[in-house]
């Protein structure tokens, strides 16, 4: 099982490395077109202290767990 997980992680790293090599793709939404995405109401996690509390509420009372979106969330607006 651990081996299977390790394979997934290695695969992910290779995938990310591969994507990095494609860093010259022309962005179809230009930096100056991102003012809507930069608006605070578009923030995926405007209040981290509140979001982590609610995640804890759900984790404590439901069988499911994980993939709650701690990663990423950036819009490259800055």
């Amino acid at each position: 099982m651990i081996k299977g997980i390790a394979v997934k992680v290695v695969f992910s790293v290779l995938l990310v490395s591969g994507l990095s090599a494609c860093g010259n793709i022309e962005p179809w939404v230009k930096p100056y077109e991102r003012q809507q995405l930069a608006d605070p109401i578009m923030s995926a996690n405007p209040h981290p202290i509140s979001a982590s509390y609610m995640d804890h509420v759900w984790e404590a009372r439901e069988g499911a767990r994980g993939a709650l979106g701690g990663g990423g969330g950036g819009c490259g607006c800055n």
Binding site: G23, M54, G71
Partner: protein, 394 residues
């Protein structure tokens, strides 16, 4: 006597908590703004009240480094249905959690490291997390990955000689993608593996009393010693033309205990002028039971693993949220750049499909509410969750 019937569940979220570690909320190419938050939280439902403070401070240095610290406390008063069925009386206890996070930004890559410690009188948990995120494709895409390692010690307040361990591993990958000028989407995957003493030392399953089939008898639960879960979530957020946002998400979950769950979420954010932001949200969750879960077993030691934890049963929950934030000092005041106060209220309805209200079969048979074991009404309850917090950017 402290009977922490919900302990294993409350604490098992530690690794996932580290997944939500403070540094990971930033995008790859820029560190989060300096900010301090102080929150009061209160959960009340099903005979349980949990309340306490949470304080989070984060500060960056030279635009390259950032440090964050969080203190979180749960003060628990519980007379839940499990406590009542076990014949115990209401108990009180406290949990304190400390978390430290570090971030380092280099080019378009952010590296982060976090440490979490949680302590109760009969449970300790330590988690270390590492992650990185990177902007790609003209910053249209942010990818992230992370790993956490947790180590718990489980004790039993009624048995000083009892001490067991749990090891936890969490692996995460995520991608955040700008799709159009007004839509951003994210996808996250997480695999979590636990190994060790995974059941709650205080919780019991119930089986039909061989001397009186209308009654039941309790015995200590037995869980497998390993659990691996997979979760994948997709989320999207859309900027509406009149400056408001709508967001939605779906998460699919499976694990080696045969639990399968779906979570749906839909929300709306509506700013009013420059100072107010209103929010409404609905969330629906549904799961199927673990393969070794039964509300009422036919006999003692019926199978290798036996659980009657309602969080492993088949059930659904529906939650409605309303919230408001008000910004103050928007033009700055002394060292403060701006501040906000927020109030969120969530109402959650839990409805169980195979967890019955066992208190009913503990009544005397002449009581009009009495029902024999196995034919009690299905359990359900509602909970109120309130969060009030102040945020200051500096």
């Amino acid at each position: 006597m402290s009977l922490a019937l919900n302990k294993a569940r409350i604490l098992r979220s530690m690794v996932a908590g580290a997944a939500m570690a403070l540094p990971l909320v930033s995008s790859a190419g820029v560190l989060p703004d300096d900010r301090a938050d102080a929150l009061y939280h209160r959960y009340e439902g099903g005979g349980v009240t949990i309340q306490g403070p949470s304080v989070l401070v984060r500060k960056k240095m030279a635009e390259k480094y950032a440090v964050s610290a969080n203190y979180y406390q749960d003060m628990i008063t519980s007379a839940s249905i499990d406590v009542e069925v076990s014949g115990a009386s209401e108990y009180k206890e406290e949990r304190d959690q400390y978390q430290l996070g570090f971030e380092y930004l280099r080019g378009k890559t952010t590296y982060n490291l976090s440490f979490t410690n949680s302590e109760e009188n009969d449970y300790e948990a330590q988690t270390v997390g590492f992650g990185l995120s990177q902007d790609l494709f003209g910053d249209l895409t942010t990818i992230s990955m992370g790993f956490s390692r947790g180590s718990d010690t489980v004790r039993n307040s009624t048995d000083p000689s009892f001490e067991q361990d749990i090891d936890r591993w969490s692996y995460r990958v995520g991608v955040s993608q700008i799709l159009t000028k007004s839509i951003i989407a994210t996808m996250n995957l997480e695999v979590i593996t636990d190994e060790g003493f995974l059941n709650n030392p205080y919780r019991s399953y119930r089986y039909i009393d061989p001397n009186d089939t209308r009654r039941f008898t309790l015995a200590q639960e037995i869980y497998p010693r390993t659990r691996t879960s997979n979760a994948v979530a997709v989320n999207g957020r859309y900027f509406l033309p009149y400056r408001a946002a709508v967001y939605g998400g779906y998460r699919f979950f499976t694990d080696t205990w045969q639990i399968r769950a779906d979570t749906f979420e839909l929300g709306y954010v509506h700013p009013i002028k420059q100072q107010w932001t209103l929010e409404a949200r609905v969330r629906y969750y549904q799961q199927d039971n673990a393969e070794f879960y039964q509300d009422l077993f036919g006999r003692v030691d019926q199978q290798n693993f036996m659980a009657r934890d309602k969080e492993l049963s088949t059930f659904n929950s529906t939650a409605f949220r309303i919230g408001a934030s008000y910004e103050f000092a928007q033009t700055g005041w002394r060292f403060v750049k701006k501040g906000s106060v927020s109030l969120f209220y969530d109402r959650i309805e839990f409805k169980y499909d195979d967890f019955r209200d066992a208190r009913v079969s503990q009544l005397i048979p002449t009581d009009p509410n009495y029902r024999p074991a196995g034919s009690e009404p299905l359990y359900e309850f509602g909970a109120n969750v309130v969060q009030a917090f102040v945020s200051v950017w500096f």
